[in-house]
Point group: C2
Chain length 122, copies 2
DNA sequence: AGTCTATTTCGATGCTTGTCTATATGAGGA
DNA sequence: TCCTCATATAGACAAGCATCGAAATAGACT
């Protein structure tokens, strides 16, 4: 049964490790699939805002309750988005007492940024 | 008649113009929506490969036929993906004789890269 | 005009996804 | 142990999307 496939956290892109900028050479299918997963995660307005909330928060850590309050969405919906961001390696979470704190994985974001970096306008 | 709505290219993100890195301040809803449109476009493996093919091609220009050949997909499907990339401002196209040539819009890619740029790991 | 080739648009289809409500889990305190 | 608060999971539903084949458009050549 493949029913659970969607929720199995795929190990997030080591594939990007030393990837050259987009413009150097065409991405092969496997690498493109791995990178596209992350972009797809960022391709939702709510998730993008969540990332920016976490990234811009002093201390680099945000409690779920802080995020939920920033949106007009149900708590499970926010939880779902957090899971997506975590599965692609953009966020990590840690439970302390009753609260769960999320923080950014700068490496993932940095790799994306480097990948998109355009060498020069020529 | 609104039949043509779908093909009207929304003017692509001037909103990003001087946007600070993601980590500076949380994106407001409008800006997040605009940026997410571009990330969503990049969130498909085929489209990501198309962008990288165009970006890495000498001369910076690629004929549709060159792209079609790189995939096991129907030509209309490729055309659809090209349209998506064009609508969000990642590519432009120009017709010369029978062929349509696509080229990258480095500005858009650069803005995304800058947005994702993480200041430092602290 | 007519025809060939390159590309886009149309309409349909099946899979994916964002959202909800309801329920479960987990941790702290009476 | 039981209750309450914070978060996650399950299941369902509507909207969105990638893909296809078929038809339409656009140029170039005869």
């Amino acid at each position: 049964m493949l029913v659970y496939m969607r929720s199995v956290p795929v190990e997030p892109l080591e594939i990007l490790e030393c990837s050259p900028p987009l413009a150097r050479a065409p991405l092969d299918a496997a690498r493109a699939a791995a990178v596209a997963r992350v972009f797809k995660a960022l391709g939702d307005p709510v998730r993008l805002r969540i990332v920016s909330i976490v990234a811009s928060h002093a201390g680099g850590e945000v409690c779920v309750c802080d995020i939920t309050g920033a949106f007009d969405l149900s708590q499970p919906t926010i939880s779902h988005h957090l899971k997506v961001l975590k599965d692609v390696g953009l966020l990590t979470s840690e439970r302390r007492a009753s609260w769960v704190h999320y923080r950014l994985v700068p490496k993932t974001l940095g790799e994306l940024s480097a990948l998109l970096g355009v060498p020069a306008v020529a």
